[in-house]
């Protein structure tokens, strides 16, 4: 069964590079530009993994994680967030909101897949 991954980031290049990497790894990728946009992909579809940026114009990553965790069908879906080395305090905040893990930017494709491998199979 092909896994559906939702990538949420306001940067098109990040969306592209994540999308490209994951599609090549056999995932089916949906992309949203921010938390608000991302929600439309969650309804009526089975998303197996959410990868979200934290800083986004409309509804930031932390809020999105909270929203997803409140949805009955997604209360246990793995959520990874994108963060940078310098933002350690954000890590805790996101974890508290219900995130499963994180990916440190910048990353290479192998690193991304490694993190994903920790949360879905």
């Amino acid at each position: 069964m092909q896994k559906n991954v939702l990538i949420v980031d306001d940067s098109e290049s990040i969306r592209e590079v994540v999308g490209f990497t994951l599609e090549n790894a056999g995932f089916n990728v949906f992309a949203g530009v921010d938390g608000k946009d991302a929600q439309k992909f969650l309804d009526g579809r089975r998303i197996d993994l959410v990868i979200t940026d934290l800083h986004m114009p409309e509804m930031n990553g932390i809020e999105l994680i909270k929203v997803i965790r409140r949805m009955a069908t997604y209360s246990n879906v793995p959520i990874l967030f994108l963060t940078t080395e310098s933002q350690v305090e954000k890590k805790m905040e996101a974890k508290d909101a219900g995130a499963t893990g994180w990916i440190i930017k910048p990353f290479v494709p192998a690193k991304l897949l490694e993190a994903i491998n920790k949360v879905i199979r």
Binding site: Q2, S13, V77, T84, K105, V119, R121
Partner: protein, 673 residues
């Protein structure tokens, strides 16, 4: 990565422009927190993206700027005219840096130093060290033979609430080496108190791996705050190969006890105690079932070689069979029988190994739909079902281009522009579905769209223009639609069309026919088009029945044969419509000699094969049925393209060639008449 870089640069230019206008806004409203926040966020994106896409100068430089605005954000630095000026100058510099030239001009260099100095003065003289390139590569695997570790992983019960699956982590660790895993369920509450969403398991892992302690910790990176994790280095010896350890394992394997770490280390510290296991294989089977290699990657060329060798083996086997039969040597008969058995098993296995699921192509299809759809300004959703269906890898290879062409047709000609769709009362977003399933000895791949359907008038006009249809008789919609599959429907000019777009389906059909497949098409105006590709499940080697027609031998695939009848000539009756009633069933029949336009053949006893495909049956009369034969099917080659009822050829034990009948096509023809 060039494309990504280009994309990032475009994006960065937007960010920089946005930053510029934000700064001007901030100039007018110096205490507006949300503007400051926005500026910080934009800088952060620039920095992150820069590092990601190899614009390190941009990234490093922006990092310093970001630090300033971090201070501003925290109220530690006031927004001043000087600050804004420096920031705006910095933006100009970023624009230069974004060109990503290998070397800055002398002018730019001095500008760079100047601005950097100004920035540093804002960060309170405390020189912000330019960030070094982050360490991208995760694993610098130590070149040691490995280390044994004892690991205890006790997640807190609520660990799964945030989407963590602790098993994946155990699995990740275990696959990095050889490991023994013991799971404990000590804290399991009584059933009525059990929360199915909680995790009550903890794991003990003894592993011999190349990972460093830090790398092991990395495995549990996401959960270390919510788990009790203990890692103990047991030294460089592979404890799993120690006899003492395996004895110890056996002694506790049935119990729920935890490892006695002390015993473990004691046993190991005494190096003399370590003996190599002689019965390693057995031991591994018993104790390490979790860690067997379940799949390996094999060069596809090796697979091709294997298949070729197996094909040759099957052909040689046929020769041996002939010789054995002629010789009547009982010992040889016996040997040949077991050899034939092995050959058959080997053949099935080799065939099975070459199967690939259709979903290996999904990414290519999805990309095509996305990219071409976007180029044409169409929004299209692409859905796949049943793509786990497996096909021989050579069939997958041959079918990729045809499917890509069909998809192109769907995107280009099928799905309408969003405005037109809305006008028709359809969702603006088009839908293309690809589904696959097994039916009998074939696999069907169905590609459908919810687009405009095939334009009847256009097809008719073109068919008449290309002399494929006289335009005299009245055709049903289905018949018209199927005209596009006729050879020569699309002219050579269209075939060579740039980028292969607009390729005719007749060409696709021909390509499919070359691999013994078939193409069917259905279309409804404004509802969409559905194209079904029917492919043979087996490609290279089949179990066949050898028959004789007009002194030449033919092969019929055994799996399609329902029954074989030997009938008296009179039983056929004199029916003109060529229907015979067999076991209360009306079955259309024909003589192969007739189908092949050979001289008729007069015998009193008629050999009739009833063959089936899906729910259709047909009977074919042959001269003689000779017996079973494993056939390596080889293509007849391009010179025999368009051969309707022959799907390939095989070499018999005596070195002559027998043709393989395409019974599906024969059935189709007979049941359509």
């Amino acid at each position: 990565m060039d494309n990504f870089q280009k994309k990032f640069r475009e994006e960065a230019e937007d960010l920089v422009n946005g930053l510029e206008s934000l700064l001007l806004k901030l100039d007018a409203d110096k205490n507006n927190g949300s503007i400051i926040e926005e500026i910080f966020r934009t800088m952060h994106s620039l920095k992150g993206g820069g590092a990601m896409f190899g614009f390190n100068a941009v990234s490093d430089f922006t990092h310093n700027l970001e630090s300033i605005y971090d201070l501003v954000r925290a109220g530690k630095l006031a927004v001043s005219k000087e600050l804004l000026n420096t920031t705006l100058e910095s933006i100009d510099l970023i624009k230069i840096l974004l060109e990503n030239k290998p070397e800055l001009s002398q002018n730019d260099k001095s500008l760079f130093t100047e601005i950097e100095a100004k920035i540093n003065s804002f960060i309170g003289g405390e020189k912000s060290t330019t960030r070094k390139d982050s360490n991208f590569i995760a694993h610098k695997t130590e070149v040691t033979d490995g280390t044994s570790y004892y690991i205890l992983f006790e997640p807190r019960p609520q660990i799964m609430n945030n989407g963590t699956n602790p098993l994946y982590l155990v699995d990740e660790l275990v696959t990095s080496g050889t490991a023994f895993v013991k799971a404990h369920h000590l804290n399991l509450p009584p059933l009525e108190k059990l929360n199915p969403l909680n995790c009550y398991t903890s794991w003990e892992i003894v592993i011999f791996t190349k990972l460093t302690e830090e790398q092991i910790r990395d495995v549990f990176l996401f959960v270390e705050d919510e788990s009790h994790i203990l890692i103990d280095n047991l030294g460089k010896t592979n404890i799993l190969e120690s006899l003492k350890f395996s004895n110890y394992l056996n002694s506790i394997s049935e119990s729920t006890e935890y490892f006695d770490l002390q015993t473990l280390t004691l046993k190991l510290n005494n190096a003399d105690d370590i003996e190599q296991l002689t019965f390693k294989a057995d031991y591994k089977l018993n104790a390490l079932q979790d860690n067997q290699i379940t799949s390996i990657r094999v060069d596809s060329e090796k697979l091709d070689n294997l298949m070729n060798l197996v094909s040759e083996l099957v052909t040689t086997q046929a020769a041996l069979n002939l010789y054995t039969e002629a010789n009547k040597d009982p010992k040889l008969l016996q040997i040949n029988e077991s050899l034939e058995n092995i050959t058959r098993h080997l053949r099935d296995l080799a065939f099975n190994v070459s199967l690939l699921p259709i979903e290996t192509l999904n990414t290519r299809f999805r990309r095509l739909v996305r990219d071409l759809g976007a180029d044409l300004g169409k929004e299209i959703e692409f859905e796949t079902t049943g793509t786990e269906t497996e096909l021989d890898k050579s069939i997958i290879q041959s079918v990729t281009d045809p499917i890509m062409h069909i998809l192109r047709n769907c995107i280009d000609h099928g799905i309408e522009m969003p405005a037109e769709r809305t006008k028709k009362g359809k969702p603006a977003k088009g839908l293309i579905k690809l589904s696959a399933n097994y039916t009998g000895n074939t696999v069907r791949i169905i590609i459908s769209d919810d687009g405009a359907g095939i334009n009847e008038e256009a097809v008719l006009a073109k068919a008449i223009a290309n002399d494929l249809f006289k335009g005299t008789s009245k055709l049903t919609h289905e018949e018209i639609v199927n005209l596009i599959l006729l050879p020569g429907f699309s002219t050579a000019k269209r075939v060579t069309d740039i980028s292969g777009r607009g390729v005719g389906l007749d060409v696709v059909k021909r390509k499919i026919t070359e691999i013994r497949g078939d193409l069917e098409i259905k279309s409804e105006p404004n509802k969409g088009t559905s194209i079904t590709i029917i492919l043979p499940l087996t490609l290279s080697i089949i179990d066949g029945l050898l028959i004789d027609v007009n002194k030449y031998k033919y092969i019929v695939q055994l799996s399609v044969i329902d029954k074989i009848y030997a009938l008296d000539k009179n039983q056929l009756g004199n029916t003109k419509n060529k229907i015979i009633i067999l076991d209360d069933e009306q079955i259309p029949y024909s003589n192969l000699r007739e189908i092949f336009e050979f001289e008729p053949h007069n015998t009193d006893i008629i050999q009739m094969l009833v063959v089936k495909y899906e729910n259709r049956k047909a009977a074919i009369i042959v001269d003689d049925v000779l017996g079973e034969h494993q056939a390596v099917v080889k293509p007849l080659g391009k010179l025999y393209r368009g051969q309707d009822f022959i799907s390939g050829a095989t070499i018999l034990g005596d070195g002559t060639v027998a043709l393989v009948l395409d019974t599906n096509k024969i059935i189709k023809q007979l049941s359509n008449n």
